[in-house]
Amino acid sequence: MKTYTVQNEKDTRSGFGAGLSELGKSNPDVVAMCADLTGSLKMDAFQKEFPDRFIQTGIAEANMIGMAAGLATAGKIPFTGTFANFSTGRVYDQIRQSVAYSGKNVKICASHAGLTLGEDGATHQILEDIGMMKMLPGMTVINPCDYNQTKAATIAIAAYEGPVYLRFGRPKVPNFTDPDQKFEIGKALMINEGADVSIFCTGHMVWKAIEAGHILAEKGIDAEIINIHTIKPLDETAILDSVSKTRCAVTAEEHQMNGGLGDSVAQVLARKLPAPIEMVAVNDSFGESGTPNQLMAKYGIDTINIVEAAERVMKRK
């Protein structure tokens, strides 16, 4: 099992903020918008440096999405920022009609996704956002795994023409990917080559999968771990190549099982390469208040759950 060095512990939202500030310098068309969560989204540096290209929308997310569509129509590249819940569920119809159906170059940037938002509880812990966004025709859905990758993804989506949903989170997590990486939308990343089981993971669950990989290695199981940072368009080739070798798959995500990464991987396998699959995800439930680690343990999306899923799925080969 390949070993990764943790450079530091950092929140992915800070990676977004850092990427946005770089874009401010390099791309005069980039406009940042925020619905009264500038500090939480780490957009304050951009706001300070580029006040003429920062738009405070107030607590009015529907209007923010609509205005973003208008700015994109005029040739700007708007990045909207708010919590993932308010970025998706609250404004689904606005995204559907004004952004996706209208084909607007809007970057919907969403922090505090999933259970790891923690103590604020289920009202804010959206676990359905990937599903909602991936169902929209033409929408790109990205869920990077650490600070460095989120920064790289933020920079990459500005260069891509079309609507994007970029999902990241609140807590400090291990920052282990290359600080100079070039982010390629839709290209899955090999974390560890293995022969016994394929683990497809996304977002915060990538590090959990690496932890699981070490435990599995101690048990003599050689896990292949692949970071699916782009859930749509899905890197089907990477999935099929891996499963044709391992003949079984585990998916891991901080999301509902319905509509998430597991769903997407299962579709590909069912259509092209039927193989046993186990999904580590929240199972048709809302979250609750607690620390991120407590919640991941209680809702079954922790390191141990990936280990157990890998062992289970191998028996079904």
């Binding site: 929308t57 609509g66 205005m67 208008g70 700015l71 129509t73 005029a74 700007k76 606005q94 209208s102």
Partner: protein, 281 residues
Amino acid sequence: MIDVQHLESIASQVRRDIVRMVHAVQSGHPGGSLGCADYFTALFFGVMDHRPQPFSMDAKGEDVFVLSNGHISPVYYSVLARSGYFPVSELATFRKLNSRLQGHPATHEHLPGVRIATGSLGQGLSVATGLAIAKKMNGEQKHVFALCGDGEIQEGQIWEAIMFAAHNKLDNMIITIDANGRQIDGDTKDIMGFEDLAPRFAAFGCDVMHMDGNNMQAVVNGLQEAKSRCGKGKPVVIIMQTEMGYPVDFMVGSHEWHGIAPNDDQLASALAQMPETLGDY
């Protein structure tokens, strides 16, 4: 100087287009379309500085129009075609399979003149607001016109946009409310008593004016006045009084013609009340 008589003759043709389009597919929204025909004609053939050919999505250096109440697509399509955005003959494809003229306006099929999909109400005004911000950022001295229905303003997003536009002094916006007093289920005063519109928009920080929307001279004067009120720190709101279905005698005075199509006899009767001036498509 804008030739009001000329505009009136165009509006008559636009109205013929509307009822013929809706009749041909037996679906669509003739009522609000007819009521707003004078406004659209004045805007696209007189007041607005726009360039139909070549169509540019970003509207840089142009005035721009956003239809927020997208269901009145027939009037929109007619003025777009008649002002040169696409061939008039294409009006015959309205609401048919493989057409660029979708039931509600869309960019998906790349119809020139349409910059945003609307239909789900309340969203277009936000898009117009975004365009107004962009024009300010670019230093363009151009206007953003938006049309909303008086039923549509029951949507909360409208007030989010109005709040934003006023707070941010988007004085390059001219927002017209089609105050026909009707919506699908009945009169707006009965559905959601909200008829005293001017003080509500004024309280939100807009510069509010009134306009008779079914009198071409009044529409031209009103829109010109609205332009002259721009640049003074407030978005301009025009409460435009119209009659749904105007001037077709059997359509006015009711909400019934919001979204139904005339039959053959009704079509003949309606066309007899609106002379053909530019040639039917």
